[in-house]
């Protein structure tokens, strides 16, 4: 067996904290049936539920009567969870997105973002209208735009406007690969690529952007939350158009305005997510339309930790599990609260971390490092097979870990994710990574004669045949797949992991971006409310109620 450098049973510390006084490898335990009161958060729920009932005269949270005819939760230990890699222990309830402001803000920050090119508008101004565009006019334009984008008037008289304090998270910055132009713009308006990224990545990104200039637009959280993702381009385009009129002294109704509007709404726009088919009934900038490759660019672990591709990948797993499992599938597409329990297994207690670092070290030892494994089926089978066996053995050797991941779907996702990520790192190929995932699923199912819920009988039993194909109707490059890819469209415990598996090859190779350099640069912005380089740390802050979100309404509601 390979010499393991970093696999140090990373989950053991969490097991000892969760199951205090117990041997993590013991097969037996005493089930004390302490009920709800063993959990601080459940006690808080009970108290709050009673208060709500008194205030409104209508029953609410009443688990002692309503759960299983009088048998409440907590017949076994109600565990805490460590947000992997953070050392912060939280209660499971704190990881439901309703109870976690950081989780809400992560999705808000994606949904309210749109990237709009300036080149088409500048061409219209210069060539069609004969106006001069200089760094000075661009600075003035951006000054007006940052006044207008939150919802302020710039042209007409007697207009309603939004309150600046309610929209303080709304702003627009620009970026370009042209250092000379960037230097001439006011610093407050520019995303400094060379400061935000490692030198090699910065050079590659600037070369990719070239002399073009792009606006990273973030409309107010409160707007996109009240409306939907489709609003982002409309809100943005209206304010962009009005700003051009004001900044370049245009006629409000002249035909050239239509060109600016067309550029802002269609021709020069990068939506964060594609519009979905009519049966999904969702506009653009909704989670189901985010391509996995784009998601790998939104998450910024690789920028902050370029030499730790495992950590960078695990941050994508966490962010993707939260967005795609808990919010998209769990609430947009389904209902109830169960999806959180599935999803959190992938980013708590360092279990997936341990398995993935094991795989990374196995690859280093056997093949000489990331990206050095031969691109063969045998190599995929070897890497994914070894990691699957290792992961299954950890669940067997440490019954507390098995009890931690008490659902088959949790285990299947975690084992297959470690296998797929390891294969991705080894081969530098996203489809090979996905293929490793599917071998893992077959091995898991045959070894334990069980897998996940019914959904795992669907995609995970046919993935062998489509994961290495890119022909239409048969498959697709991993980076271009997404939550609405046919086999992936309704199955918890997969999409966040897939997003990480298709991003991992790029992180290992230290590519500057996964699929879109513009998205990579936009989400590197430290002014965003959510820090996309540290999703797990941010979720932990949300869980312990230390994350300050945007879009709050306390200014316009009665003080309590």
């Amino acid at each position: 067996m390979a010499k393991i450098e970093r696999s140090q049973k990373l989950f053991l510390k969490a097991m000892k904290e969760k199951f205090q006084g117990e041997d993590p490898s013991s097969l037996n335990t005493a089930f004390l049936r302490k009920g709800l009161e063993q959990s601080e958060r459940k006690r808080e729920f009970l108290k709050s539920g009673r208060k709500v009932e008194m205030e409104r005269g209508l029953v609410q949270y009443d688990p002692k009567r309503c759960h299983l005819g009088g048998i409440p939760l907590g017949q076994r230990q109600l565990m805490t969870y460590e947000l992997s890699g953070t050392g912060t222990f939280v209660e499971g309830d704190d990881l439901h997105f309703v109870n976690n402001a950081a989780m809400q803000q992560m999705w808000d920050d994606i949904r309210r973002t749109i990237i709009v090119g300036m080149d088409l508008a500048h061409q219209t101004l210069q060539k069609r209208l004969g106006k001069e565009v200089t760094p000075e006019t661009i600075n003035e334009y951006l000054h007006i735009l940052n006044h207008a984008m939150p919802g302020a008037a710039v042209v007409q008289e007697h207009m309603v406007e939004t309150h600046p304090a309610l929209t303080s998270d709304c702003y627009v910055k620009v970026f370009t690969g042209d250092d000379e132009v960037a230097d001439d713009l006011e610093k407050q308006f520019v995303l400094p690529i060379e400061k935000l990224f490692p030198a090699k990545s910065a050079e590659a990104l600037k070369a990719a952007v070239g002399k073009s200039m792009w606006q990273a637009v973030h409309i107010p959280t409160i707007v996109s939350r009240t409306c939907d993702g489709g609003t982002t381009s409309r809100w943005s385009a209206m304010q962009l158009g009005m700003t051009f009129i004001a900044a370049y002294r245009m006629c409000a109704g002249e035909a050239a305005v239509a060109d600016l509007a067309y550029a802002a709404k269609h021709a020069g726009v990068i939506q964060m997510a594609d519009i979905l088919p009519a049966r999904r009934a969702r506009g653009p900038n909704e989670p189901g339309g985010i391509k996995f490759g784009h998601f790998g660019d939104m998450i910024q672990g690789d920028r902050k930790y370029p030499n730790d591709p495992v950590k960078a990948s695990l941050e994508v797993v966490a962010a993707g599990s939260m967005l795609f499992d808990q919010i998209w599938l769990g609430s947009y597409m389904s209902g109830g609260v169960g999806f959180t329990q599935y999803a959190t297994a992938a980013y708590t207690d360092n279990v997936l971390d341990d398995y993935t670092y094991y795989g990374y070290d196995y690859v280093k030892d056997k093949y000489g490092g990331a990206g050095k494994a031969p691109l063969t089926q045998d190599a995929i089978n070897d890497i994914a097979g070894e990691v699957t066996l290792y992961a299954m053995e950890q669940y067997e050797q440490f019954p507390t870990v098995l009890e931690d991941h008490f659902g088959g779907s949790q285990r299947a996702s975690v084992i297959a994710a470690a296998s797929g990520l390891s294969t991705s790192h080894a081969t530098g190929n996203s489809n090979a990574g996905l293929n490793g995932w599917y071998l893992s699923m077959l091995m898991h199912k045959e070894g334990w004669s069980r897998l996940g819920f019914f959904g795992y009988d669907l995609q995970d039993q046919c993935g062998s045949a489509n994961s290495m194909s890119i022909r239409p109707d048969e498959g697709l490059l991993g980076e271009l797949r997404g939550p609405n890819y046919p086999n992936y469209a309704m199955n918890v415990g997969h999409q966040g992991e897939y997003a990480a598996i298709v991003s991992a090859p790029h992180y290992s190779r230290q590519d500057a971006w996964v699929m879109n350099p513009l998205i990579k640069i936009t989400f590197a912005d430290p002014a965003l409310v959510f820090d996309f380089a540290e999703p797990r740390r941010e979720f932990a802050k949300g869980a312990i109620r230390e994350f300050m979100p945007a879009g709050e309404r306390s200014l316009i509601i009665p003080a309590r």
């Binding site: 037996n28 076994r76 097979g385 008490f406 659902g407 334990w448 069980r450 019914f454 045949a465």
Partner: protein, 255 residues
Amino acid sequence: MAYTPQYGPGSTSVAENRRKYMNPGYKLENVRSATDEDLVLIMGHRAPGSAYPSAHPPLAEAGEPNDPMRKLVTPTEGAAAGDRVRYIQFADSMYNAPCHPYLRSYLEAYRFRGVDPGTLSGRQIIECRERDLEKYAKDLVNTELFDPALTGVRGATVHGHSLRLAEDGMMFDMLQRCVLDQKDGVVKYVKNQIGEPLDRPVSVGKPADDAWLKAHTTIYHSMVGTPYRDDEEALEYIKRIHSLRVKYGFMPKEA
């Protein structure tokens, strides 16, 4: 040439047990004797001795259309009588319970007619006509497929298959449907499969010892049983299947 099922690969006792249990030619060993009434009580679908509620008239009285498929497929006893479709559901501990979800579905498909198995990680359900169900349930509870401590008949709130065992060796059950009687060492169901209290306890025998469980189980386990890693034949076969599915996903032309 007649097809001879191979049932599955593997060179270990786990693989051999799987093949045996799936093979309808292998007679499952009876190890307990729960009565018809016991099983009706545990399943909780009807009162013992009561008539079978029906979903439709008996087929003989239904005036069925002239349909070649109906002539080809003989109805089961329950279907002919017009019984309701009801279920029995099991939770199997990963610590060497004899039977496990996918194997249950496979063996039920090989051994029983007119059944609809459903497979999850923590439970496996089989649905069929009620009087057929009662017949099949006897095979599933009275034979080597069942262990009183590690196999649970659980219609809802099945949580337990992956949890550590209680100090008395029983698989966790939130509803405590069955308990180990410390006086006689016998496991007794005191609630039916959806947790309604029974009028009388139903005994399902003493838990098997570790050696029997290890010899009869169908799950690989590196701590309490047969390590998966040791079954090279099974692992090689799975990788071969995966590789061939990849290859034939592209429909290659063979030389």
